[in-house]
Symmetry: C2
Subunit: 194 residues, 2 copies
Amino acid sequence: MAARLAADTAEQILDAAERRAQTVGYHGFSYADVAGELSLTTASVHYHFPAKADLGARLIERYTSRFLEALADIEARASAASDRLRAYVQIYEDVVAANRMCLCGMLASEYETLPVAMRERLGDFFAKNEAWVTALLTAGRASGELSYAGDPKATASALVSALEGAMLVAKAHGGLASFKAAAQVMLGNLIGPR
Amino acid sequence: MAARLAADTAEQILDAAERRAQTVGYHGFSYADVAGELSLTTASVHYHFPAKADLGARLIERYTSRFLEALADIEARASAASDRLRAYVQIYEDVVAANRMCLCGMLASEYETLPVAMRERLGDFFAKNEAWVTALLTAGRASGELSYAGDPKATASALVSALEGAMLVAKAHGGLASFKAAAQVMLGNLIGPR
DNA sequence: GTCTATAGGTGGATAGAC
DNA sequence: GTCTATCCACCTATAGAC
């Protein structure tokens, strides 16, 4: 317990590696980068994560479980489907505002060069993410709060993809303002005019 | 002239580098990879492109001009806004079907680690791409062929982002089928029920 | 225009002392 | 758990012969 208060070295390594992976990608940072930030040597980092693939896999696992926690928080805080949807989009916007990108979106771009263990966990993240959105869209349409044509699953997939893409493009063109504008369009397609 | 028939070495290098950049990214391939594919040495590749940044910049320039050519082709082939929009989306689908990703979407994920010359050309690609879509959406709504609420520019930005994101996510989860489903949702939001 | 050879740097990873 | 020292593979890039 109290894990977030006195973070052990392994956790600090994950924090540093995660921030880097979200900005320059898995292949964009080295053990030396992480070690330097924590005033350690690369050998010490290897003690906690023998191979970089171990570090990468753990990174995705932790990110996924925290992401699912955030989704559970939304359900606890908001009851209206439209409010939940807005809160969901806000998660992404906060990441962009922090000059990062979704860890899993970033890693998806490196998919072909990723260790198998990381690939599997990546697929898991998107599956669970889309499943949650699908349930939200299904319930939201049933209650008349949300409106869209067609399959909830396809619509959820399109929303997740669109948000990931908006983060991606914002890096090269438009930045946060561009992300916000795109996000508003997506919300408008589901919530409709107010 | 006849440049596409008897491709010179520089062009062949660009072809090989482009395919790799679209799958494993700019930092994911080396001069040795490209040289090996063409049965050359790295020194020969350096003769044509002294630094990798030169190769990368040329890659984006060529990709952008070919992309704009494809857009001009759409205007020549189709007159209805909905047909043009479908043809535009089809460009992206063809790339996914070839197990590639948009070169510029891929490079956007590496933005922070890219040479300045490449960053500038990346922004140029997205600006011109979005400008074309904005014009299409504007004309399409004016003629009653397309329908959407809000700013054409924001809607165009959202569409480009969504397509890039669908390519990205498809790599890690769902593949071509996932891309197609997401693309249909996006088209449906602009063209409406048939 | 292409080659051989090589420099100089950085990457992940390990052995063994403390 | 952390260190020093080191290995080996790979990468970008260059000099100079052909």
